[in-house]
């Protein structure tokens, strides 16, 4: 791979760059050996400019930013190169000198807004603290400035929320607090490390807008670290693509999206789900596969529809409800209820993929757990393959329905070798001899694209994408009729995501599986589903065939959800309307709450919308 140094350090106009990094190399010591995880990285950022550093997990993008801020543990990391910030080399500064720059001239915001705020300090105090650390002003003055900052990041009713604690804020609002604290000293440079990855799409759109507005107001430089090409297209002027510690491509964002020079960049771009890419396509189609060797995109072949119309249904769910009681501490009286799922009805046919979409807290995961029987339902009926769910013994239910979970790190028992994990159901049911088990494990591992020899390894030896394949293999071993995939690809890197989605679609083709695909990622949902149900506050607000939902969304919430998805095209950046600053309303209701009678309007064949009346005017 010949690297084009000229291209990598393009500076914008004659203006002096704010930060100029050259030959940055970072190594970690592991078991006595030095390992370079970032090699010879160079870039520059000017005031008012946004540079995106893109890459998948392990590409070294976060390590790069941590090295600049000297946040890496000094005893087992080594950094070489040069990072000139306004003429000062950041890498040569000692701890005291860098502290004066950190948080004052250069600020950082992190991915997890919950863990990057101190849970025992009020929101206002945390913002004021970051001001007081760097400026000699009085407490009252700092408070006034912190309040002004909260207004600037558009936290509604800042004054009354100044003394709230982080847990009283939603994820999106917490990220606003983080931004307020980071910008309190009016830094020249902001480093944002995956600031929106943990947030819902509508909230992500709001936070991205906010960062852009604040940048326009103050003229600071922004380094935006992300794995999401959609986000890159939204925010960045120039882009740096990293792969396994090397910068493999850099240039203006336009240029990289139009004419990617490297095969990996094309692969990354092809893996970006594009909303609307399925328009006019009646049957769910796998992602095109990027062949790194030939540098060409291989379009998937047309395939027959797996969906078998009409009965028998795999799953018939009617008026499903689940409420969680909130009890008073002392007397254990029910003081309120979380209406997690309210009156949900749908059906699943053979070979069909029904996606349930919505934002965190909308009840989609609870719905998944209700239909698998992991939670007991309060009301409603679930008929699984012709039998009432409650009437099926647990042992037999395992043959009907299985589940794939969101977090591939939590869904495999760390003490079972993966061969054992896959065949555990067989041992529970006393189905197969040890030799048969080994054979089944080997064939399933091959089927999901892993090597049979891997059966003897433990889960921690695998990457997230591989683990998710193992979970798919485990779900398949009982040959179930229905698989519930709860955010099964949300935690994966883009390229992994497309692979797992393609695998699921292949399996559906082979085995006629029915999928209930629970996700917040609209672009993946568009790719994989036959039908879509949109959930909001525990209720289905719109349900219908994929094409109807995407091309003719009727419910205001569905429209908002679709409108918030980033468009992976820098040229169309400004077409997305400004996001409305809203918070998800809470499904907590008083104990005597009764759901008002609901009416669904039939828009077209099989496409229903909740008639929610004045709530949404």
């Amino acid at each position: 791979m010949s690297r084009d140094r000229e291209n990598m350090t393009v500076t914008q106009s004659a203006e002096h760059p704010l930060l100029q990094v050259q030959g940055l190399t970072v190594g970690f010591r592991r078991g006595g050996q030095w390992n370079d995880v970032v090699r010879d990285v160079g870039f520059s950022v000017s005031g008012g400019e946004t540079l995106a550093i893109v890459g998948e997990s392990g590409s070294g993008k976060s390590v790069t930013s941590m090295a600049l801020m000297q946040l890496l543990p000094r005893d087992n990391s080594r950094i070489s190169g040069q990072a000139l910030f306004r003429g000062i080399d950041l890498l040569q500064l000692d701890e005291r000198q860098i502290e004066r720059i950190r948080g004052d001239r250069i600020s950082m915001i992190f991915q997890e807004p919950m863990t990057s705020l101190n849970p025992v300090m009020t929101i206002g105090a945390q913002i004021a603290e970051s001001i007081l650390t760097h400026r000699r002003i009085g407490k009252a003055e700092a408070r006034a400035e912190a309040l002004a900052m909260m207004d600037r990041v558009r936290i509604p009713s800042a004054k009354s929320r100044y003394d709230d604690f982080p847990h009283q804020f939603s994820g999106g609002m917490r990220q606003r607090v983080m931004i307020a604290a980071a910008l309190a000293c009016q830094p020249d440079l902001l480093i944002a490390d995956e600031p929106t990855t943990a947030l819902d799409v509508t909230i992500q759109a709001q936070v991205l807008d906010l960062i852009k507005e604040l940048q326009a107001e103050s003229g600071m430089g922004v380094i935006f670290i992300t794995h999401d090409m959609g986000v890159v297209a939204e925010v960045s002027d120039r882009t740096l693509v990293m792969y396994h510690g090397d910068v493999i491509e850099s240039g203006t964002t336009e240029q990289i999206f139009r004419h990617p020079a490297k095969a990996y960049t094309s692969a990354l771009l092809s893996a970006v789900p594009r909303l609307g890419s399925m328009t006019g396509n009646a049957v769910p189609t796998p992602y095109p596969v990027f062949d790194i060797a030939s540098g060409k995109l291989r379009e998937p072949e047309r395939r027959p529809n797996t969906l078998r119309e009409g009965p028998p249904y795999l799953l018939q769910v009617s008026d499903l409800s689940k409420r969680f009681a909130i009890q008073s501490k002392l007397l254990k009286r029910t003081i309120a209820r979380v209406h997690a799922v309210e009156g949900v009805s749908f059906t699943l046919r053979q070979g069909e993929t029904l996606s349930i979409v919505g934002e965190s807290g909308c009840g989609k995961s609870t719905t998944g757990k209700l239909i698998t029987g992991l939670h007991d339902r309060d009301e409603g009926r679930v008929v699984l393959a012709g039998r009432e769910l409650g009437a099926i013994p647990a042992v037999e239910r395992a043959h009907d329905i299985q589940m794939i979970f969101q977090d591939p790190y939590a869904s495999l028992n760390p003490r079972l070798r993966i061969g054992e994990a896959i065949t555990e159901p067989l041992r529970i049911h006393g189905k197969a001899s040890a030799t048969e088990q080994r054979e089944i494990a080997a064939s399933l591992l091959t089927r999901v694209g892993l090597q049979p020899e891997m059966a003897g390894r433990y889960p921690h030896e695998f990457s997230g994408g591989q683990r998710q394949r193992i979970c798919v293999a485990r779900a398949l071993v009982m040959k179930p009729k229905v698989i519930v995939a709860d955010e099964a690809v949300s935690a994966l890197d883009v390229t992994m995501k497309t692979q797992v989605v393609n695998l699921m679609m292949d399996l559906q083709q082979e085995m006629g599986l029915g999928f209930v695909f629970i996700s917040h990622d609209m672009a993946v949902v568009e790719r994989i589903s036959h039908r879509i149900a949109v959930m909001y506050l525990g209720e289905i607000v719109e349900i219908g065939p994929r094409a109807a939902i995407f091309e003719n969304p009727r419910h205001p919430y569905t429209r908002r959800l679709l409108g918030a998805v980033p468009v992976p095209d820098p040229a169309r950046r400004h077409q997305r309307g400004a996001a409305v600053v809203t918070e998800l309303r809470s499904p907590v209701r008083p104990p005597d709450y009764r759901r008002p009678a609901r009416r669904y309007l039939e828009i077209s064949d099989d496409h229903f919308v909740l008639d929610s009346g004045e709530d949404w005017q």
Binding site: R30, E396, Q402, F405, A410, S411, L412, N413, I428, Y458
Partner: protein
């Protein structure tokens, strides 16, 4: 099991166990035989470590004392681990009334200072190992219950437990095959702590005359009696003290080593 003893701490522990359990079978002097004429006798061929204030063989007494210390504290720790972990795991998995009941009972036991509880039992049922072991076991049950309960609460929320339930596994299978192996780490830490605590508590009680009954030797009692003659014969005090320290340190190191052995991640660790 083989790996468990292939470490410095494992070898040392094996050595101590060998001394404690094979030692009494060797032709050592009778630990109870007095020889007042040779009191405070220095090291000799017949008495390699010398003789105590009644002329009893120090080496033989140390070996016997070590054995009773290991039997009493090991036994007490085992019993309390079995009871405590069972209660804690069931409470954490079943929840509801059984959880509230068992956890509150544990809180009640925790209210008694251990020393007071043992003294009470010794007064009621007489001192000696047959009182000491059950009382020590009782004292440490709540700590196991709490650790087991807390660990089960974390593990039961993991997706892999839900996945196992969906496979149709019974509650017993989930508890024994899925949850238990995943909480052995903290339980081993707790076990090492309890063994060490009961070694110390046992010797403390014997020091006070509430543990092992004289003339049977015990480390605590040996320390207690040698105190008065420390100026003349410091070795009589130092020998049991050193034995106690070595025993405690080796036990600690060994349990730490066991915990690491049970961690599947150790192979790839840096």
């Amino acid at each position: 099991m083989k790996q468990a003893f292939q470490s410095p701490s494992g070898i040392l522990l094996a050595l101590i166990l060998a001394i404690a359990f094979i030692g009494p079978l060797l032709p050592l002097a009778d630990p109870l035989a007095m020889d007042v004429a040779a009191r405070f006798g220095g090291p000799s061929a017949a008495h390699p470590l010398g003789q105590d204030e009644y002329g009893r063989d120090l080496l033989s007494r140390l070996v016997h004392a070590l054995r009773s210390a290991i039997l009493i504290s090991g036994g007490a720790a085992m019993i309390s681990a079995v009871i405590g972990v069972s209660v804690g795991v069931v409470a954490g998995y079943v929840r509801g009334f059984s959880e509230a009941l068992s956890m509150r009972v544990m809180d009640v036991i925790l209210c008694f200072p251990p020393l007071l509880l043992v003294m009470l039992a010794a007064t009621l049922y007489g001192a000696g190992p047959s009182t000491l072991v059950p009382v020590l076991a009782l004292v440490f049950v709540p700590s196991f219950t709490r650790v087991a309960h807390a660990s089960v609460m974390t593990v039961r929320g993991q997706d892999y437990v839900d996945a196992t339930r969906l496979m149709g596994a019974s509650a017993t299978r989930i508890i024994f095959r899925t949850i238990l192996p995943n909480i052995v780490g903290p339980l081993f830490v707790q076990f090492s702590f309890v063994v060490v605590m009961s070694v110390i508590l046992e010797s403390g009680l014997s020091f006070l005359g509430l543990g092992v009954l004289p003339p049977q030797p015990s480390l605590g009692m040996m320390i207690g009696t040698a105190r008065s003659t420390f100026a003349q014969e410091p070795w009589l005090l130092l020998a049991p003290c050193l034995s106690l320290i070595v025993l405690v340190l080796v036990l600690n190191a060994f349990c730490d080593h066991l915990r690491q052995l049970f961690d599947p991640r150790r192979e790839s660790g840096a």
